[in-house]
Amino acid sequence: MGIVNPCTMNIHEYQAKALFRQFGVATETGVAIQDLAEIDQAIKNLPEGIVVVKSQIHAGGRGKGTFTDGYQGGVKLAKSSDEVKEIASKMLGNTLVTKQTGAAGREVKTLYLTEGCEIEKEYYLAILMERKFSAPVFIASQEGGMDIEEVAEATPEKITQVVVDPALGLQAYHKRLVGFALGLEGHLFKQLMKMLDGLYNMFMEKDCSMVEINPLVTTKNGQLLALDAKVNFEDNALFRHEDILALRDLGEEDPKEIEASKYGLSYIALDGNIACLVNGAGLAMATMDIIKHFGGEPANFLDVGGGANTEQVTEAFRIILTDPKVEGILVNIFGGIMSCKTIAEGIVEAAKQVEIKVPLVVRLEGNEVAEGKAYLEQSGIALTPADSLSDAAEKIVKIVQG
């Protein structure tokens, strides 16, 4: 729900472009390498001329990024084989920091070497599933290579949306609308028609949540090429795409979030010091809100799901406590169909296994709440029971802030 759903899986640019080729979406020639030993062979497979060396990480702003050793730029042009090798040796294994990576940056484990091309003009093209239309929508603009959100803000008339009814499928008029919006003519228009077919087929067949090409370019020799590729897939549909799942790069994801997802937990780390453990996404967000309302700062979003069994609660505590910022924990469970006593037993068992050394406030509500609270009080573990959600939030904020 909301921030937790729909979740999406990212892939690298070189993987996205391989998919593009599979679906007939034109892109420049490129070769990916994971090891410098592969570089001579890679260069042989590229056409003569300028080579672009691109760091492969799941974050935008690579071109303007800086490596942690001070080397500038995660995307660079090379005019000779020697220059390709020199740049590659500086990037591979190095850590790139961009405006989207955070200060820690990401290790570059793959480089993508592509042929350089002479750009005539840049465009923006994307297709995504939009909740407002309950359907896929193409987004096209002649303002390519720019921050598209800024274009949408300042000059919304420069962006065209074309909604496709998924039951009807992509029709010729949809494609013409996109083509005219981009102002393409003649053989470039024809190339676009083919590209849109490929994009739509890929989007639907592979259950993408978004495919973004920024920039899409026309070249001086009359080609229409996808020069960048950002492709996201919907988590809920990955069960039917083993080929896509195989492209997942766990090194690009937060290890705590991966660990959480193994146990059916949704976890998102935040900057505060009060951790929360809640059942249900809406209630989990509301719990973060009420901590803030009473002057505290939530350390995370954590939804243990409707059931909240002992194993899940134990894992949830473990994950929470790997965050050194956490100075207190608020557990908020609405018992629903499960008995609060069962949940209380789970919390106590989990607390014993994990050895919680920070203050713990527990608020239970729902089925057999009196029995649940009594069990907590008799458990002998150090925790503060709370009567209501506001009582719980006030208590944990007061305890943590001293």
Binding site: M1, I3, M129, M210, G282, M288, H293, L389
Partner: protein
């Protein structure tokens, strides 16, 4: 009176012979909900709970048992197919509990719904309950009592929170509706507000929303223009980090809407009382509603 479901509702359970589905269906039946059939393809001819006939298709459940409402507990890979089958069988109200249905499948369902007379609640929702009459889905029955407040929410446990607060303060509910938190769903806040507004027995309304999309803003506009009953609301997600998932292109279409601040401003502008914390949902309603 109530909306959507009542004593007369004839429920068919799709996928309730599975482990999770059966537990909840039995709870619903124990509550007094009028289940008339179960549907599990391949298990036709068996019985559920020793008395409910199991059919191979929803069509049979409609023809033989007069089912008019379906609850879907079918696992995510097959859930959209289950909904489409219910639409095809002419089921009036389909309540889909299943979490994790691929969005593409739901886009297809949306198209089929638009061409039919069926209404879908959900997916990824806790269900619908008219206290004392009919409870379909996974809501705990004991938190509610019959009364005159309508409750509509995108979130499950937050619905329980609001309903329970009302019950503890002695105020019952006409109907509690969980519309689900998925990006594509069958029934919106506005659809349910409209039903509550037209229901003579519903005197006041609680609406619970969360960040993302613009359904709450649309609902606020509807309330401003058409609703004269007292309305209170809560929006979850004031402190949530902004749009981690959908990336740039997602933010374009939704523009600036979707943040808690925008939603709360729209609700207040419509004369809706907005609860400052999730603990104050019922008391906020009672500040504008004196039964």
């Amino acid at each position: 009176m109530s909306i959507l479901v009542n004593k007369e509702t004839r429920v068919v359970g799709q996928g309730i012979t599975g482990r999770a589905g059966s537990k909840h269906a039995l709870n619903n039946i124990a509550y007094g909900s009028n289940y008339v059939a179960a549907v599990t393809p391949g298990k036709g001819g068996q019985t559920f709970d020793d008395k409910l006939p199991v059919f191979n298709s929803v069509r049979e459940a409609v023809e033989k048992e007069g089912a008019n409402t379906s609850v879907v507990f079918v696992p995510p890979p097959f859930a959209a197919d289950g909904i489409l089958e219910a639409i095809d069988a002419g089921i009036e109200l389909i309540v889909c509990i299943t979490e994790g249905i691929p969005i593409k499948d739901m886009a297809m369902v949306r198209t089929a719904l638009d061409k039919s007379n069926s209404r879908l609640i959900g997916p990824n929702c806790p269900g619908v309950m008219t206290p004392g009459e009919c409870n379909i889905g996974i809501m705990p029955g004991y938190i509610a009592q019959p009364g005159k407040v309508g409750v509509v929410s995108r979130s499950g446990t937050l619905t329980y929170e609001a309903v329970y607060q009302l019950t503890v303060l002695g105020h019952g509910q006409s109907t509690c509706v969980g519309i689900g938190g998925d990006p594509i769903n069958g029934t919106s806040h506005t659809d349910v507000l409209k039903l509550f507004n037209e229901d003579p027995e519903t005197e006041a309304i609680i609406m619970i929303g969360e960040i993302g999309g613009d359904a709450e803003e649309t609902a606020a506009a509807y309330v401003k223009e058409y609703v004269n009953k007292p309305v209170a609301a809560f929006i979850a997600g004031t402190t949530a980090p902004p749009g981690r998932r959908m990336g740039h292109a997602g933010a374009i279409v939704s523009g600036n809407s979707g943040s808690a601040e925008t939603k709360i401003a729209a609700l207040k502008d419509a004369g809706i009382a907005v609860a400052p914390t999730p603990s104050d949902i019922a008391t906020t309603l009672l500040s504008v509603y004196q039964p």
